[in-house]
């Protein structure tokens, strides 16, 4: 084989190798991006679950603390707002944390009504509520973990050379905000005992 053919062959082989690497990298990044989107959708699922729990909770509480109008109405209003803001991403963050805040206030007020606290169905509802808050927190944590993996993948060498060209941009993580702290700190007093911030 003379020099020309040799260099052609080598160029061909190199092209095939680079092409394979490109394909593998692209697929990997696509898979990771899909996982990130899936994780985001999971958060949605848990937020909707919280929406569904609220009416039952409010009705049970209303049976025992009828004159606490302000708190109960605030919860109902916040829920309505959260549901209506489902499509707008920016507004959604605000409405959801407001809902979390009002729920926290409701739980705090319910502490002062021992009969309500002792009622079986309220215990179950409270457990479901605390669990939902936990699930939202864990869903966010999972989302953050996936975003971290994705960001790392598309920023490390040699992937970063082509990530921009192929259309992969870094995604942002969830950060804790003030309103979300409220319900977790307030739940410290109940028997489930989860009072810690999650990161």
């Amino acid at each position: 084989m003379n020099g020309m053919q040799l260099s052609f062959t080598m160029a061909g082989v190199t092209a095939v190798l680079v092409g394979t690497w490109l394909v593998i990298t692209f697929n990997r990044l696509v898979a990771m991006r899909n996982r990130v989107q899936n994780a985001w959708a999971q958060i949605d699922v848990q937020l909707n679950r919280r929406h569904d729990l609220v009416p039952n909770l409010v009705e049970t509480a209303r049976g025992y603390m009828e004159h606490e109008h302000s708190v109960l109405d605030a919860v109902t209003a916040a829920r309505a707002q959260a549901i209506s803001a489902s499509n707008d991403l920016a507004a959604r963050a605000t409405t959801e944390s407001m809902l979390g805040g009002t729920l926290g206030r409701l739980v705090a007020v319910a502490e002062g009504y021992p009969q309500l606290r002792a009622a079986e169905n309220f215990k179950v509802l409270q457990e479901q509520l605390t669990s939902t808050e936990n699930r939202i927190a864990y869903a966010r944590q999972f989302y953050n973990d996936e975003v971290r993996k994705y960001n790392t993948s598309q920023a490390t060498f040699p992937g970063n050379l082509v990530a921009g060209m192929l259309g992969f941009s870094p995604k942002s993580m969830f950060l804790a905000d003030e309103a979300d702290c409220s319900i977790r700190l307030l739940s410290k007093n109940d028997e489930s005992g989860r009072g810690e911030e999650r990161g």
């Binding site: 457990e127 669990s131 936990n134 944590q141 999972f142 005992g193």
Partner: protein
């Protein structure tokens, strides 16, 4: 699998093949070509043996073929057994295991169980896995395990006592560990590992099959399972549960019973024993081999592998909960008490801590008459029209399984099953109080659900009695033979957790004890090695003897067939 094991199995396989050929020869004359080929194959084998035993020099190629001839059939057979078991376990192993453990669904009415279900869901979200099905056991030992073939159909089994002992955070940590284990693919590894141990048990069952009705029945049900398609068939699951809890232990065999039945010794029996001596010897050789093989070679290797997975699961759990202290505390709490789970011995490696002995054995072996009475009463209490064909008064283990299944159903809320239990229990207390200890008190079942510890202990004693009838030795499981424990030692686990950020409050550090152990092991080391070498020598002798006997025996039978053929033709 083991070379020595193959050496023992192969002659038997050849023997079976030759006898089959002989039988066929009686009816249709097999071409002489076949016998010549067989002779050539045997010649190769003889070359290999001569090289090994008498150090006669041999052509390497012939040697290789000879070695292949001697080893390959046995190895192939064992490998096929293992593959078959993996398939079986993957399909319905978890169902059978759940039956053996008497696991039940969590009740939505009990708040703690609701919390547990919620925690499982939360951890599944954190891990990004589909939430596994949760099952509970009413046992006083605090323990938990995972079952299944993969993340899609995984199940978590938690004992009720675990709920009582641990706080919320620690429960989260433990469940995170279990879920992380599932996510890391430990279930596939566990199925393969369990299959290795069970394959040994299966081998023993096959050898025992010509002699004992028990082994035959177990084998038959296993074969039916393997050929069947349903994974939810309760009979199939019961068969697997039976197989797992009984034949994994190397306990007294049908062969021993066959050889030496209680009572009369007659000349005929002795003659029969003498004739069947090679099989007996093979059985013994295989048992000894399996014991050494499992404890010294395969066992520790698998144990170390499994420990690595446990460390990984610990680290993943911390990544999920971001709370190393809770996991450390939980592990410390769990290691303090024996987490005994009746019926879980064969799967000890899957549990968080070793299911220990705990409560002492009550010596409750039933006489044959008592077994009959129990079976009769139980069958009489069956609602009209639901007699099953495979549980009869004579088949006691089937009756025992049916009792377990009914107890399960009663726990899950089946009113008919509960009524039947009530009837049977009252009848038994009236007839024979000792027998009543074999059936759980229905009221205990109800109170155990709500965390009544004395009820749980009573229930566990009943289960122990039930298991004792089936297997003589309760703590012999597939776990027992390994010299190295499958569970990582607590100290090492805590050390690793401390590196990951946990703050651990040690009770006592005993450096002096460690030095003593070190010195002792150095002193005793050579002795142990010597004993091991002797053991291996013994095994080698046994193998040789077994092969010789089988060869003689086969030659005699072949001659007999040849004579019979000759008489018939000529």
């Amino acid at each position: 699998m083991g070379v020595p094991l193959a050496l023992v199995i192969t002659p038997l396989m050849y023997g079976v093949g030759l006898i089959a050929a002989d039988v066929v020869n009686l009816f249709w004359p097999v071409p002489a070509e076949f016998w010549r080929k067989a002779g050539a194959v045997a010649g190769f084998g003889k070359v290999a043996l001569d090289w090994l035993v008498q150090q006669k020099s041999a052509d390497p190629q012939a040697l290789a073929v000879g070695a292949a001839v001697m080893l390959v059939p046995g190895m192939l057979f064992s490998f096929l057994l293992w593959v078959g078991l993996v398939r079986l376990l993957r399909r319905s192993g978890s169902g059978g295991a759940l039956l053996a453990l008497a696991a039940r669904e969590p009740l939505p009415t009990v708040l703690k169980e609701l919390q547990l279900a919620d925690v499982v869901q939360e951890m599944a979200i954190a891990a990004g896995l589909p939430a596994p099905q949760l099952m509970l056991i009413d046992a006083p030992g605090a323990n938990a395990c995972i079952l299944g073939a993969g993340p899609e159909n995984a199940r978590i089994v938690v004992s009720r006592a675990l709920l009582e002992d641990l706080e919320r955070e620690e429960l989260e940590a433990i469940l995170a560990h279990l879920l992380a284990s599932i996510g890391n693919g430990d279930l596939r590894i566990a199925v393969r590992m369990t299959a290795v141990f069970e394959a040994c048990g299966l081998l023993l069952a096959i050898i025992n099959a010509p002699f004992g009705p028990q082994a035959r029945r177990t084998l038959w049900r296993l074969v039916r399972c393997w050929l069947g398609s349903g994974s939810d068939d309760p009979k199939e699951q019961a068969a697997i549960a039976d197989f797992l809890t009984r034949s994994a232990g190397l306990e007294t065999d049908d062969i021993d019973r066959f050889m030496d039945p209680s009572g009369k010794k007659s000349v005929l029996r002795s003659l029969r024993n003498f004739l069947l001596f090679p099989i007996f010897l093979t059985n013994l050789a295989i048992k000894l081999l399996l014991w050494v093989f499992l404890s010294v070679m395969v066992g520790p290797f698998l144990a170390l592998l499994w420990r690595t997975r446990q460390y990984l699961a610990d680290a993943s759990a911390i990544q999920l909960t971001r709370n190393p202290d809770a996991l450390a505390r939980a592990l410390q709490k769990l290691s303090q008490e024996p987490g005994q789970i009746p019926g879980g011995d064969w799967a000890a490696h899957l549990f968080l801590v070793l299911p220990g002995e705990g409560v002492g054995h009550a010596d409750n072996s039933l006489s044959a008459q008592q077994m009959q009475t129990l079976a009769r009463v139980w069958l009489a209490s069956a609602p009209a029209g639901t007699q099953s064909t495979w549980a009869t008064a004579g088949n006691f283990s089937a009756v025992s399984n049916q009792i377990s299944a009914t107890v399960q159903a009663a726990i899950s809320g089946d009113v008919q099953a509960m009524a039947r239990l009530h009837a049977a229990y009252h009848e038994l207390t009236a007839t024979d109080p000792q027998l009543a200890a074999q059936v759980p008190n229905p009221d205990d079942l109800v109170s155990a659900r709500h965390g009544d510890f004395s009820a749980m202990t009573r229930l566990q004693a009943v289960r122990r009695n039930q298991n004792q009838k089936a297997s003589k030795d309760d703590s012999a499981g597939s776990q027992a033979p390994s010299l190295i424990d499958f569970h990582p030692p607590l100290k090492r686990r805590l050390n690793r957790l401390a590196k990951l950020g946990a703050q651990i409050h040690e009770n006592s550090a005993e450096p002096k004890a460690r030095i003593v152990v070190l010195v002792l092991s150095l002193l005793l080391g050579p002795f142990v090695l010597a004993i091991l070498a002797l053991l291996l020598l013994l095994i080698a002798i046994l193998i040789m003897a077994s092969m010789t006997f089988v060869a003689i025996w086969l030659a005699v039978i072949h001659k007999l067939f040849a004579l019979a053929g000759g008489v018939r033709i000529g």
